[in-house]
């Protein structure tokens, strides 16, 4: 069992401010059901004073996710928006008397939801630079901006901490190298800006990346020559044709755009566009392709033809 504080347990068993806030004027949604937790924060802001007069939450997630959501509402009610925006995810964790390290991402989810709800109230678009390349962890849909915010906000100095705080790297772990890149860059900047002691910063040379289960070579048969590029592309095409009917049943679709080495570019269309499960769909497509082709492939969703 997790070592939850009494306050975490209390806020989980008897959550305050759960449910729908009918007259909310700011709503922030973060997370996704495929990722295992999701939070909708609803706030009521008094326009003249900019005071958050009420807040409610709905959360899909574990005990600490529900407790963190409830704690967040308690922390922001009665504060002005400017005051609330000063809060960090650590404030949420502290309010609860601390969270287990592996559960810190629950407090980060609260922080992100608050910023999303305030942006929604202000009529702004919440920073969402999912432009190609910016999405680092495809399993949990975490982009570079969020990882950087969390590293800075919590003075993180290890990849493991990034996973605990944001979940990035907690799935297939193929983004391990990108996480190291971001951590190395941000830590170096923090040292320059005087926010981090040089000896505490992430040291890539000394870091040994943990070994995770690799992609299992299913289709490779002994003594068989490797596929030619043409054969590989054909096999990918055929496999995608096999997958399409099941996507079409849900009103979506998927087409092959390009193959570059082991990178397979696909375009999701129809109901897949904007679907928060599209990350899981891509993962599924990738698993099917790897199985069929027998070599490691990375499936990358693209929005336009190049």
């Amino acid at each position: 069992m997790w070592d939850y504080t009494d306050k975490v347990k209390d806020y989980f068993y008897n959550p305050k401010n759960s449910g729908v806030l009918e007259d909310a004027n700011g709503v922030g949604d973060v997370g996704a059901i495929s990722c295992g937790d999701a939070l909708r924060l609803m706030i009521k802001v008094d326009e003249p004073t900019q005071m958050i007069t009420d807040a409610r939450f709905q959360t899909f997630g574990c005990g600490s996710a529900i407790a963190s959501s409830s704690a967040l509402t308690e922390l922001i009610i009665g504060k002005t928006i400017d005051e609330a925006m000063e809060l960090t995810n650590q404030d949420i964790a502290d309010f609860l008397g601390g969270l287990p390290p592996e559960k810190m991402h629950c407090s980060v989810m609260g922080y992100e939801a608050l910023h999303a709800a305030v942006a929604n109230f202000r009529g702004e678009v919440w920073v969402d630079d999912h432009e190609e390349g910016a999405l680092i962890c495809k399993c949990f849909g975490i982009d570079e901006a969020m990882i950087e915010r969390t590293i800075r906000g919590n003075a993180l100095t290890s990849v493991e901490e990034i996973t605990n705080y944001t979940k990035a790297g907690g799935g297939c772990s193929t983004c391990a190298e990108s996480l190291e890149d971001v951590l190395e860059r941000v830590n170096a900047e923090m040292v320059t800006e005087g926010d981090l002691a040089a000896e505490a910063a992430f040291d890539r040379q000394a870091y040994i990346r943990p070994v995770k289960k690799g992609i299992v070579n299913n289709a490779a048969e002994p003594g068989k020559a490797p596929l030619t590029t043409l054969q590989k592309i054909k096999l990918i095409e055929e496999t995608i044709e096999l997958i399409r009917p099941s996507l079409q049943r849900d009103g979506g679709d998927c087409e092959l755009v390009d193959v570059d080495g082991n990178r397979v570019m696909v375009k999701l269309t129809g109901a897949c566009v904007g679907c928060h499960l599209s990350g899981a769909t891509i993962e599924g497509v990738q698993a099917r392709l790897v199985e069929a082709v027998g070599v490691p492939l990375v499936v990358i969703p693209v929005t336009q033809y190049h």
Binding site: P15, G36, R40, F57, G61
Partner: protein, 400 residues
Amino acid sequence: MTPVYLDNNATTRTDPEVVQAMLPYFTEQFGNASSMHAFGAEVGSALATARKQLQTLLGAAFDHEIVYMSSGTEADNSAILSALETQTGRDEIITSAVEHPAVLSMVAHLEKTRGITAHIIGVDSRGRLDMEAYAKALGPKTAIVSIMWANNETGTIFPVERLAQLAHEAGALFHTDAVQAVGKIPINLAESEIDMLSLSGHKLHGPKGIGALYVRKGVRFRPLVRGGHQERGRRAGTENAPGIIGLGKAAELALAHMDDEQTRVAGLRDRLEKGLLQRIGNSFVTGDPDNRLPNTANVAFEYIEGEAILLLMNRDGVAASSGSACTSGSLEPSHVLRAMNVPYTAAHGAIRFSFSRENSDADVDRVLEAMPPIIEKLREMSPFWRERDVRTSEFKPTYA
């Protein structure tokens, strides 16, 4: 109120009769069976009896086909490593996507360090093995097949006897992790072609710290643990006499209760399952209803998360387990449910209820009463759940 324990696939209560059988071997009969004096001799004969008891439960032809080890995990590891050493010229392993980590982690490690090739055979939505893929994967390079007898999360039973025949046609050894099957369903190894089988004491009301590997007579075996002649040189180390004797007693009791397990215990499980599905909408049973362990029910509750369910159940005095990400400390839901393609909307909310002969009708009543309010409370809190009319499409995360 006494808690209701429905997590018997995780571990069982050691039967008091088992404890009684073990106790003398800590103090009065503390001797080392290998010693040349009376202290050792008495222990030696008790160990022989225990071996016979386990042999009977397994329906094994010879008692020396049993090699005692520390755990089911050690047995799984030993079986695979031995096969790679004895099967000269063969360097491929076939296993399933839903195995216990005791097999999957070892196989992944061997792929990395020894360059062996692994064929991980998938399952369908009920958790049944893809027989076509299995037949295709078998070949002249297959050293060993390791496929579980029954799955720990869903209880789905694999056709191991048939799988063993097919493995032999390809000249491969067949090992089965039967940790969840032994003691729950009848097993007759003498009549099968299974070469090796792993089991664990604490899953059948025996003590923890004792397991065994069955190695069919004639199957070549290379030990993992060396340094003594114990277990005919196949597993060194002074015998865990209390453990072995406890496991023997547990095997005897399991055989005596085998009918009860198939009828009454299965009946409790069925009543719980039906009752839950009747009372709680948007829930379904995972696994193969036609071919399952009698004691296991895995019910997925949509749009809520397993750890939260378990915490509330625990407060109501009901113990079960979940394949959800959060309970395991990993961030991904159970590899078993993922291999079965259970949708994400439900995989995070799957709860495993596993019974034993110690459960009663009153336990089922308690759980049936406790669950509906728990599920309702969490669903009301879930952004994906709207008054029994779920519109997940309304949930529009800024990033997802």
